[in-house]
Symmetry: C2
């Protein structure tokens, strides 16, 4: 496995691959089984597999955890090599001097994480657009754990007609049901125990029969957190909330974000439409 | 020459060209020698040459001339065929339903045309990003006539690491010195005569020896128009105005936009730094 830190070198290599299949899994590092599952999903689809590790300052705002985002470069490299990655791209000087372009996806990015974290999805869309430009993959894989992010990226790729197939990999849970996240490392043992309530709530929402409002009430009863930022059932494509007083009639997602001290945890689960 | 109107068909064709050199000249049609000169510049650099004609509603605001922008589809097709174009792309249904992505280039797009036409460069950057995605060229060529637009596109291509070389072609003048523009067709004979003053002003600015302010005064004396939107000497890369009280010490551009009735005309000329 080759480690590349220079943006120009990565671009020269990806340009030399023109006509080949190239897979790409962008990450912020501190890799877990959620990330490696995306690599495993992408590996058979490409001749060259690239993973990037870049903690993107554009998607954090001033009082977020950019500075203390967890890092483990050696462990990350071992996991990538074991997953059959060809190139690990850890860019230095990622944004050029006078970088002045932003990619903004409206609609799907306005609610939920977009409302809680102003500018977050602008930062995500911009970094992903630039990464896709540098790596020029034929297929890029993102986790369903960040479900809204995935839909923002799908919208961008479709609207800008990017020459890449956007693939998604299912959320991966730990043995106790908690969704894998690099930020789980910040949880105290008692917070971790309470965090198990989030997936229980989502499964209750998924399995309850009734209107959207009734499902949400059934789920909310489970949540044990310091603060629920949101708990909703949304359209699986545009992320708009479904009406409270009707059953689920189309492909949907139950999404939750809750806080444990200063740690925000996200989780989600697919909701199939009620049988008619 | 093949004419393609369907976006998916154009994408399928460009994807089949992976590994080949593809040239691209995006236009709004009503082609003149300025456009065909870009095709001639690009033709030797590529195996496949694509020209697009699309009058992009995103770059016009409500009270501009979108509805009456001149059109000549048959003449355009003849000129493209004569210039050795392989594919003329005249998209129908260019923006998909729920199109929600915008590309914004700050800095270089804020002054001049950006200030006179709010949202204009956002529309330009967005349509060019989507066109580049659809056509996937290895080289794309833009006219220096729209000098600020060219710098906006260069910034975007650099920032998003687009796998395309951005080429520019010199502004082309008519025999009377007026810069070729599709909008010249709207000028009355007397407006056309007065419009000759713009290139005279620019050449006076270029040839005058003195400070920026003195050069501009020398040029302004020539301009005969209903309104000057701006007349300036700017840095050739970031389009910031050079200080009035100093000579030109770096590569610069004299730019002018002036009105004749409802017609806005743009012109520009390169200014070499004064010898030390």
């Amino acid at each position: 496995m080759k480690i590349i830190r220079d943006v120009e070198e990565m671009m020269a290599l990806s340009r030399s691959w023109a006509g080949h299949t190239v897979g790409f899994v962008p990450t912020m590092g501190y890799l877990h089984r959620g990330h490696t599952s995306l690599m495993q999903l992408t590996r058979p689809l490409c001749e060259h597999l690239v993973v990037s590790i870049f903690v993107n300052p554009l998607q954090f705002h001033a009082n977020e955890d950019l500075g203390r985002y967890p890092r483990d470069p050696e462990g990350d490299a071992q996991k990538c090599a074991a997953a059959g990655v060809d190139v690990l791209f850890i860019p230095e000087g990622f944004y050029p001097a006078n970088f002045r372009t932003r990619v903004i996806v409206s609609g799907v990015s306005s609610r939920w994480e977009g409302a809680e974290r102003p500018g977050h999805f602008e930062g995500v869309a911009t970094v992903v657009a630039r990464l896709l430009g540098i790596v020029a993959p034929t297929v890029a894989c993102f986790g369903e754990k960040d479900f809204q992010q995935l839909e923002v990226i799908r919208s961008m790729a479709r609207d800008l007609a990017l020459p890449v197939r956007i693939l998604s990999g299912p959320l991966v849970r730990d043995d106790d049901g908690v969704a894998l996240s690099s930020r789980n490392v910040y949880l105290s043992p008692s917070q971790r125990e309470r965090a198990r309530s989030l997936n229980r709530a989502l499964f209750a929402i998924r399995d309850h029969r009734g209107t959207v409002g009734e499902r949400l009430a059934a789920g909310a009863a489970f949540v044990d957190s310091d603060k629920i930022d949101y708990l909703a059932i949304v359209d699986a494509e545009d992320l708009e909330p479904l009406p409270d007083d009707a059953p689920v009639t189309r492909s949907a997602r139950a999404i939750v974000t809750a806080r444990y001290g200063s740690v925000r945890l996200l989780d989600n689960v697919a909701i199939e439409p009620d049988p008619r």
